[in-house]
Assembly symmetry: C2
Homo-oligomer: 259 residues x 2
């Protein structure tokens, strides 16, 4: 097991996948992400512990309504949260996915420009926004970390814009699967004999995937079939996927090979 993980870690390193042996959780405080905690002093940690409160949200439930004054700021402990925007006539798009260790909500903002919903069962560690914000000014280290996270979010968002603007359907689907493979935290399910292979559950339905990629359900389905035919992916069932060789998927994500 340890040996297998070591191999997996090496493969992930080589392929610039962000391999996570087990999700990083700080032993001392309520926050999921060790990096945050590293920036905090003991006082801050105990203050956060006093503030925080756990909440479980079943799949499909709304966490935060679009345009609602938002009152929570939370760290995601497990599960996947989807952030969506909708045009008046119903056309909708998923503008972001949040995974374990990500933050939901915006410090110092009273409105939220999107709709947040649990895509899978989600466990949250909630900080009431008001109390949290009172804490922040005295602890610039914490705000600095959040700032850096927001910059990463912006990077991801801009990368995704390139996908939406210029990639073909097959590349989009491959890119999506790659992104999920990178972020689904439990990578213990890497193939034993095949160190480059991964097996995982899709956190989204086909309809949600199409809302992520700016495509229709049918196109997503067809492209999945296409990738399956090419041998790039295997479908265990609708939700469970095996990627025999991540490199092939990476190639599919960046090459528009017509015919």
């Amino acid at each position: 097991m340890a040996r297998r993980s070591a191999t997996a870690a090496a493969v992930c390193e080589e392929l610039s996948l962000s391999y996570v042996e087990s999700p990083t959780r700080c032993g001392t405080c309520a926050i999921r992400h060790k990096a945050i905690c590293a920036a905090l002093c003991a006082d801050e940690i105990s203050a956060l512990n006093r503030l925080s409160r756990r909440r479980s949200v079943p799949a499909g439930q709304t966490i935060l309504g679009e345009g609602e004054a938002h009152t929570i700021f939370a760290n995601i402990v497990s599960g996947v949260v989807k952030l969506t925007k909708t045009l008046d006539d119903g056309r909708q798009h998923i503008i972001g996915l949040l995974f374990a260790s990500d933050f939901l909500g915006r410090a110092f903002r009273r409105d939220n420009p999107y709709f947040a919903e649990a895509a899978t069962d989600v466990e949250l560690c909630i900080f009431p926004a008001a109390g949290f914000e009172k804490l922040l000014p005295d602890h610039p280290g914490l705000e600095h970390r959040l700032f850096q996270f927001t910059l990463s979010e912006l990077d991801a968002c801009q990368e995704w814009m390139l996908l939406l603007a210029r990639k073909r359907a097959e590349e989009r689907v491959a890119s999506f699967l790659l992104m999920i493979a990178k972020r689904v935290p439990n990578m213990d399910c890497l193939h034993t004999e095949n160190p480059g292979g991964v097996r995982f559950q899709l956190p989204l339905s086909r309809a949600e995937i199409s809302d992520c990629l700016g495509l229709t359900i049918e196109t997503v389905s067809r492209q999945m079939t296409r990738l399956k035919t090419k041998g790039v992916i295997e479908l265990v069932n609708y939700r469970e996927i095996v990627i025999p060789d991540i490199r092939a998927l990476q190639q599919a994500a960046y090459e528009a090979s017509p015919a």
Copy 2:
């Protein structure tokens, strides 16, 4: 003139356009944006003044190469900067535009994931990154402002994702023109008799607009013609545009009226 501007301001308010009488420049320090300066103390302002340095960049010149370790952090004094990303095979997309008072560069980051180029003649107020970053930890107010700006950038980026994923060509072009109308700072050119009307120069060529919208040059051109035919816009020449009624444009930006 004052009266006309007052009307214009009222109209912009009504239409939720960000009307700017004249670009906000702080009288005391080198930074373009008064809001930033409001967060600074006298020490900070003089420190920034010592750090900053002016630079003019002619249209078309590269300011920052993609992937280059970046060494500058700058406030844009005038002109428009475009940020682009490119796929290996040459497909390219403009992921963002920066206008007067915006910031270019990322504090505490050593790499930049995009390519920055002057779209028009640009005047920059440059802070060498190293010196600037040394200043930041002692002045959390400044970092707080930058954080808030980054959140706004993220908002804009997510809004744009919805455009790329779900809007039709005509809506995209209308949305683009609306965005430019909102951000081109010199709005003194509002129509005298027609308070809802605006006249301005496009900072981008058709090719650049198509790279913004995930379309081709031809489609952008066709949709511009279409909007002209409908009377939503008037083309003075290739670069100069008159919008007789902003409301009509706003409607075109959100309604996919097929035929």
